[in-house]
Amino acid sequence: MTATGVRLRRAGEQFAVAKPLVAIDSASKVYGTNRGLAPLSLAINAGERVALVGPSGSGKTTLLRLLAGALVPDQGPRSVIINGKSPGELKPGRELASLVGIVSQRFDLVPHLPVLHNVLAGRLGHWSLARSVLSLVWPMERRAAQQALARVGIADKINERPGRLSGGEQQRVAIARMMMQSPLVILADEPVASLDPARAEEVMELLVGLVSLDMGHGNGDDGSSQRTLIASLHTASLIRRHFTRVIGLRESRVQFDLPAGELDDAVLDELYDLGDDNGDVEPLAGLAARDG
């Protein structure tokens, strides 16, 4: 099904087939001798909220980074297609920024810049270099950044340095940055792994809120306001409450693919039971691969 969708798109045909928004066609990634991801195929439709679960080293981070275009699959960039484009092929800029964005476990803010500029960094893909330079002195789109921060509940922190904020607040800044970027597909790599349960619930609500939120920047040529969320996390209750679909990965293979409501703790326990297998460990090679 996935392959068909891709082939139709490649042929440029405009049939009203239910084409998946995200199509992964047996993409794999090998780092040196370590397997980051075994050949994996997956189709995700617009508007889905997909949770990726699986033990460390199961390939979740690699998969998310392939989708973000931060890694290129061994089969070539065309084996990951989002909305007809391949993120690995796109040059930095508006098109990539509008297509896909990622929030990660450690939020990854620039500690030396105030929250305002960290939020505005979400616009870098849309801005010219001159505009970006000017913005450091005289912030552009300040109003939009204020609104984004108000929406995540930390409007008062706009001039703080990220280092002075708590983990939950930093994750909110990262989500506000994502609002400014406004991509079609929102990726989140263990966004709540370092937060306490109450904070995790709040941050998850904000992330899920992004999916249906009209962020006011439009989506380039797409025009759809329906976004797609793909997040890796480990908490069954959060998955059942906030997601529509759950995919279990183990040793970089799909173990199960269920509606989120059908996820029970027994399925999850079985997935995480690694026994004494000490096989593929996700390597730390590359930009920021890690897995909690």
Binding site: A70, L71, A97, S104, F107, V110, L113, R123, G163, L287
Partner: protein, 270 residues
């Protein structure tokens, strides 16, 4: 058996220590102990120089000379450093390779660029500023411009090298996060690398400015005015009290730059 023991005992570091001890003993045996090591009138001369410190020359006319020459030295140092930063920062950015970084590994072009810029920087700094000064005096004659260029070139070589390393040491995660917002390498340099490296960049630049003051002071022989020139004049007349005053001004300049630098760094703490 005991030979075997000696063999295991005589491993790398111990062997090296023994070698150094032997070399030292040999070199001492070569010294001609009949000749005095210091020059005979040295003690008296040193005492004379030291006593001139109590008090140094503090006459208003001379203090005015000190202030003016300190100002000139500072001006040369700042001019040379400004040119060095203007040259060294772009070269440092190129040498760090952060602009040419792609998502997946690195290419041969990036390596070639980094290597050639690093070679250029090494060439610039391997020649001392005094040698550059001699070359420029030969080329453009005795002029302040010769002194400023002579300082700017080796300092740019040093700054570029250190800037490149400081940019490379920036944490990778925020940079990777910026790239996923669709930011280009130039964007990432502006919003990631430079802000994160800025405290280190500034700190090292201020340190180099201190060195620059010292260097500007000894550039007097290429004909620029300044503390060094005045020290040379006073020394020629054996006016050690004046020399002390000038040295105190030189130390004060360096301490002032240090104080300024620590204030700037404190204001940037996050």
């Amino acid at each position: 058996m005991s030979l075997r023991r000696l063999q295991t005992w005589l491993t790398g570091p111990r062997l090296l220590t023994l070698g150094i001890v032997f070399a030292l003993a040999w070199s001492l045996s070569r010294v001609d102990w009949q000749q005095p090591i210091g020059h005979t009138g040295g003690g008296a001369a040193a005492l004379q120089v030291l006593l001139a410190l109590f008090p140094p020359e503090l006459s208003p006319e001379f203090l005015r000379i000190c202030v003016v020459s300190s100002w000139h030295t500072l001006a040369y140092a700042v001019a040379g450093m400004s040119l060095a930063v203007a040259l060294g920062l772009p070269l440092g950015v190129l040498a760090s390779g952060v602009l040419a970084q792609s998502a997946d590994g690195s290419g041969a072009r990036r390596w070639t660029l980094m290597a050639s810029v690093r070679f250029l920087l090494a060439a610039m700094r391997s020649v001392h500023e005094l040698v550059w000064a001699l070359l420029f005096v030969a080329a453009v004659g005795l002029s302040p411009m010769a002194a400023i260029l002579a300082m700017a070139i080796p300092y740019a070589g040093i700054l570029g090298r250190i800037y490149a390393e400081q940019l490379q040491d920036v944490p990778a995660e925020p940079v990777a996060a910026l790239r996923t917002t669709g930011a280009s390498s130039a964007h990432v340099l502006l919003y990631g690398y430079i802000p994160m490296a800025l405290p280190d960049l500034l700190s090292y630049t201020f340190y180099r400015l201190e060195c620059g003051i010292r260097a500007a002071a000894i550039m007097s022989f290429v004909g620029i005015d300044g503390i060094g020139f005045q020290i040379e004049l006073s020394l020629a007349d054996l006016l050690f009290r004046q020399v002390w005053t000038l040295l105190i001004f030189l130390v004060a300049l360096v301490v002032a730059v240090d104080w300024w630098s620590s204030r700037v760094r404190r204001s940037m703490a996050y």
